[in-house]
């Protein structure tokens, strides 16, 4: 079920759905109730005996028949609750098994699909080898300005078709498909290499993990050119420093993420005094530009490096800003980021260098990053946002168990016209943050408590905006 409008879907981030958790909770409640009802039935019978067993009070045992009836009904209720608890637990277990199987099967299907796609690409490439001379000539001809203009005109219908079907590309089903395909990137590559499916499965994410999503992102990083993977020195400048109070809510924290864009500050660090040690909040903006050879550290190269697990320029810029703000390893930090900013924040939290209290990401591809259990991790993902899906399927098992994912569908089917990619806009995520503030789901308590700790005792502090740029030699 896809939550719509103002409804939130909170889950563990792994394959088990909220509904299954709810069913287990109901089963446990019914089991407790069955035991209680048996106890109450016994107490009703004993209460009846108070008058029944006394020669003096027996003539006044007017309540005895009703206590007897109550005891019998409570016995019935106990039996009903016990039976229902057993059935609900069986159903929940079956649902969980089906979901797990579904996840396995969809993973296998996506992997097989990816492998076949890769194989197809390989076959097309091999089959096209005899045409290589013609292709080389075509490539040379294509350099001619007139031919390029012609290609641009011919490609317009394709672009129009893509734009016209933006709604389809932003549907939750398409987002799920992208998530599955991204998770199968390794299988696509192994298919291209012509490796047998069982061996490919063994080498990929689901097997030994030798060829996985991160290594595929690393390969793309290499293909993106020298500017993308060459470590470039960062220059950091302080854009602004102002007094500030700690955020009082998730919406408040979301509003403090710097607005992304070329030339803008990308990092905000807040330092709060009071207590034995100062505590810090770090807010990171999303991607500033989509090239790999510009001056912005929060670029496409950092996106690929972030997923690949490499030291992205944005990651180094963030560490530099944190160091400049006086944050030392072991200091208490809350990390908040949008898009790439969330990816960088997750990398910082995963490093374990700081005492990270909370990690809050909005529309970030962080599904495959193993965050320590000690970190309260909240991932906010709109159902129509493709970006979180680019991080692949969430990690299963121990590494992903404490990830709380809030999903919300923000597209109204009655409004077909909307900017492409609007599900990823921070403005929409700010609205979702306000809804989360109003939610009483206990799974959100840990993150809210971490924010409360940051804001306790009305701490005053300092907010500093940093702008980082790459120094090209």
């Amino acid at each position: 079920m896809t939550p719509t409008a103002d409804t939130l879907d909170v889950s563990g981030g792994a394959s088990t759905s909220v509904e299954t958790d709810e069913l287990f909770l109901v089963a446990a409640t019914l089991t407790t109730l069955a035991a209680d009802a048996r106890d109450w039935a016994h107490r009703a019978a004993m209460t009846r005996c108070i008058t029944e067993w006394s020669a003096d009070a027996a003539p006044f045992g007017f309540a005895e028949p009703d206590l007897t009836r109550s005891a019998a009904m409570l016995q019935d209720a106990a039996a009903l609750a016990e039976s229902l608890s057993s059935r609900v637990e069986t159903a929940a277990t079956a649902y969980a098994a089906v979901e797990q199987k579904g996840a396995d099967v969809s993973g296998l299907v996506a992997a097989l699909g990816g492998f076949l796609t890769g194989g197809l690409i390989r076959n097309i490439f091999i089959g096209a080898l005899p045409l290589l001379p013609s292709a080389a000539v075509a490539a040379l001809v294509a350099q001619h300005p007139e031919v390029r203009r012609l290609a641009a005109v011919a490609g317009q219908p394709l672009l129009s078709a893509l734009t016209g079907n933006a709604a389809l590309l932003e549907s939750p089903a398409f987002v799920s498909l992208v998530r599955a395909l991204v998770s199968s990137a390794d299988d696509i590559a192994l298919g291209v290499a012509g490796i047998d499916p069982p061996v490919a499965r063994l080498l990929g994410d689901d097997g030994a993990g030798i060829v996985g999503l991160s290594s595929m992102a690393g390969a793309l990083l290499l293909l993106a050119g020298r500017n993308a993977y060459t470590a470039t020195p960062i220059t950091l400048s302080t854009a602004e420093s102002t007094p500030v109070t700690a955020p009082r809510s998730l919406a408040d924290a979301a509003s403090r993420i710097p607005e992304s864009g070329p030339g803008r500050p990308q990092i905000r660090v807040e330092r709060f005094e009071g207590g034995a040690r100062p505590s810090y909040a770090v807010y990171l903006a999303g991607t500033s530009e989509f090239s790999t050879d510009g001056a912005e550290p929060f670029d496409m190269g950092s996106n690929l490096a972030g997923i690949a697990g490499d030291d992205a320029a944005a990651y180094r810029a963030t560490l530099d800003a944190m160091d400049e703000a006086g944050i030392r390893p072991g200091d208490s930090v809350t990390l908040v980021g949008h898009s790439q900013g969330g990816l960088v924040a997750a990398r910082v939290a995963a490093s374990g260098a700081y005492d990270t209290d909370a990690l809050i990401t909005f529309g970030s591809p962080t599904g495959q990053i193993p965050i320590p259990d000690s970190v309260a991790h909240l991932a906010v993902e709109h159902a129509e946002d493709l970006t979180p899906a680019l991080g692949g399927a969430p990690i299963e098992g121990d590494d992903g168990r404490d990830r709380v994912v809030v999903t919300r569908s923000i597209h109204d089917p009655a409004v077909p016209e909307r900017p492409f990619g609007s599900a990823h806009f921070m403005a929409g995520y700010a609205d979702t943050a306000a809804l989360i503030d109003g939610s009483d789901d206990p799974r959100l308590d840990r993150v809210k408590a971490a924010l409360d700790t940051l804001g306790e005792a009305e701490r005053g502090g300092t907010s500093t905006l940093y702008r980082a740029v790459k120094r090209r030699g």
């Binding site: 079920m1 109730l33 107490r43 029944e52 067993w53 020669a55 045992g61 009703d66 009904m73 209720a77």
Partner: protein, 123 residues
């Protein structure tokens, strides 16, 4: 409630000691019934809280709802019986305080069973 069709034995006078003992026992019965009713109401609330936000939708949800209705009905009827039992306790105490001569329930009162547990009448 006393079935009016049941024959009553009249004219038995209780001693002050017996009356005091009976009143004590009725107080105890009333107290325990009230505590039980409170616990039951708390259990009903817990059950309602666990199920009222359930978003589970499937073919078997109808069967679940039907059985849940049976369960809540059984609990509600039990709670209703306890309420009547409380009223009956109150009525018995009022009767005991008001009159020295009381009507005894018929069918279960045997003079030759005085001194034995009253439950012996069901043997």
């Amino acid at each position: 409630m006393i079935d009016p069709t049941i024959a009553a034995v009249s004219g038995t006078t209780l001693s002050d000691v017996s009356r005091a003992r009976a009143l004590d026992l009725l107080d105890e019965q009333s107290r325990r019934t009230r505590a039980l009713a409170d616990d039951l109401a708390d259990g009903q609330r817990r059950l309602h809280h666990a199920t009222d936000t359930l978003t589970w939708r499937s073919a078997s949800r109808y069967e679940f709802d039907r059985r849940m209705a049976d369960l809540t009905s059984a609990l509600a009827r039990s709670a209703g019986a306890l309420r009547i039992a409380l009223d009956e306790c109150d009525r018995a105490r009022e009767l005991l305080r008001a009159d020295t001569t009381i009507e005894r329930r018929g069918g279960g009162w045997e003079k030759d069973l005085v001194g034995y547990p009253a439950g012996a009448r069901y043997r």
